[in-house]
Each structure stands twice: as C-alpha cells, then as structure tokens.
Symmetry: C2
Amino acid sequence: MKKNIPEIEELVRLISKLPGLGPKSAKRIVLKLINNREELIKPLANILAQVYKNIVRCNICGNIKSSNSSCTFQTCSYSDKNYTQICVVENIADMWVIENSGIYKGYYHILGGTLSSSDNKKTDNLLIPSLVERVKKDTIDEVILATSATIEGQTTAHYIRDSLKDTKVKISKLAQGLPIGGEIEFLDDGTLVSAFKNRGPVVSD
Amino acid sequence: MKKNIPEIEELVRLISKLPGLGPKSAKRIVLKLINNREELIKPLANILAQVYKNIVRCNICGNIKSSNSSCTFQTCSYSDKNYTQICVVENIADMWVIENSGIYKGYYHILGGTLSSSDNKKTDNLLIPSLVERVKKDTIDEVILATSATIEGQTTAHYIRDSLKDTKVKISKLAQGLPIGGEIEFLDDGTLVSAFKNRGPVVSD
C-alpha cells in the first residue's frame, strides 16, 4: 500500500547516521520536518549549504573558521592578547569542554584526531607540523597536552613531545587520578595506579 | 577567547528544535557534521533542498507526495486495487504505525491535525471537505475513524461523523478498552469506563 518516496528514505538514512539517533528517532525528526516546511526544512537546507560553503578548518590551529576570514577564534591569531600557552586537544569538542570549564585561558591547537597505535602511527591527518611551527615562531612558554587518557591519546602526547624536543618550550600534560565523585570501589586498575603514582600532600582547599 | 561563528550558532539552534534533541545533543550533532563535510553536510543540505522543493501534501488525501506526480501512496489514487474502506487518521505518523502493524489494508485520509475544543472548532486546516468528496465520489463502504482517544481526537471524530451524515457510508471508530499488557490496578478511570461499557463475551482466541 505505502510506496516509499526516495527523497524521504534518503533523508531518514542520513539523519539516522547522526550521533544519538537511530532509524526510529530519524523518522520522528523527518515527520517533524515535513510538518514544518517553512520553519525547519528551508532554513536547515540553507544553513547547511552555507556551512558547507563557508566553514573550513584553519590549517594553522585546526579550529573551524569562516573561509573568507582569518581564524576568528584567536586560537592561532593574536589580535587581542599575547598568551604564552598552547593547549593541544584532539578535536573541537574537547576545546569546547575546556572553554566551558573556564579553567584555561590561552591558545588552542586542535590536532584533528589521535595517532592510531595499530595504524603504523600515521600522522598525515594530524596538525603536528604546524604546532611545531607555532611554538618556534611565537612567544610560547608552555605546551599543555590535553589529549585523552587512552592509549591513542597518550601515544599522541608522546609523539608530540618528541616532535617538540628541539624547542625549549615547557611541555606538560593533564594530571591523571581520581575523577571528582569517583569511588575507589569502582575505579579501574589504570586509574588507581595513576592516582597512587601521582599522590601528593594533603592540603586544605 | 572563543568567538562564535554565526552559521554554526544558527545550525545548533535549528537542530535543537527537532524532537528529542536539545542544545547539548545538537552541539554533538553539529560537531559530527563539521567533521564529515562531504559525507554528511553536503548530502544533507542537498536532500533537504530537494525535499523542500519536491515533497508536498496531497490536497485530496493529506499524505505527502512528490510535487510532480499524483499521489504515489495510493492513499487516494486507485491504480492498483479498489479498496472499500478509508481509514481517517490525524497525521502521517499515525498512518505509518497502522501500516506497520499490518492490521489494515485500504485507503487512508490524513486530516493534518484535530479540532481544538478551545479554538472554536476551527476546521480550516483539516482535510474534512475532501473526505466528504471522496466518500461521495468513490465506492467506499466504510469510514474508519482512527483519531486519538483524546478529547480533541474524539471531538474531531464526532465532527466528521456529522459531516458524513448525508452519505450512506458506514462510520466506525477504533475500540476503546484495556491496552495489551494493561494492568487493572494502574488504569485510569476513563479507560476502565470504556472497558466496562464495551465489554463482550469471553471467546477462545
């Protein structure tokens, strides 16, 4: 009875690829879209076309930027202030989380992924050479490696440390240990080992 | 430090309007999109533009269809078979659920909403006149009112029954009672009243 419309099928297929969505929720979204042609389909189609056309990755710092301007995030352009630290993260989401926490004020460098330990350490897609350039060229005192506490993230951190060994910059990485609210009973061995190794004096906050 | 890109802001805003999504999941989706320009942004922009251009509502049966063809769903065109029943539903999602259940084979009529009991019973947006036309014109024996068991749905059902009173068509509505798996203890009064009123003989399945 029901014949499928190819455009709708394709729309469901694409939307169900997005994180957190499956075929069922994609169908629900498509129904909402169909019922809101002017308010949703039209502006979404337009803004996606614009983003596709205008938003590119900065080939210095790896952040996204408008294609017709220099890097507006000042993760690599130094118009406002001269920071002395670069925080190296794997992807944009990591930077957003750190930004939101307010703990860090300085430049960012978005690698665009990690080294894969299995994949012969291919660094083709990672913005490591431009990081070395930035450190050499600018007044950077410290590079903070904020890669994940995974094998890939730590492999990447070591690789970057080696890449920067000719510069005199200070290189640090985020502390490992108990997460806030973490109960000893449920911690994995790796976290426990880190927490013991990195133990420090008891200080009042 | 972080300056916002207006296109990205707008994309997050639009996506967070979709059902089941909020600002956080919208951000996650936008990040996924940014990282998959060719695989996601481009095809999504294209298919949305196509859907906006090509997919319209059939003004006879209320279903969606390609703008350059007659109603391909055969909810109102009678190329394959001559059914004798029309199932009247509030929206496309309702039709999809009924289709998937396999319980019904016949034509559909999608109203596009319900009468609002508060809103002076405005029927402007509901495809009720074309339903009357269909019933008058074609060989329809029965109209099955599959509107929701809500005040609005039942008000709409009554309104449609009145609109069809000049035709000789049989008008039925879906049974009300215990849902499968429903425990008496947790049923609301309305459902209990319906279940008692509509009680029937005990038959072996």
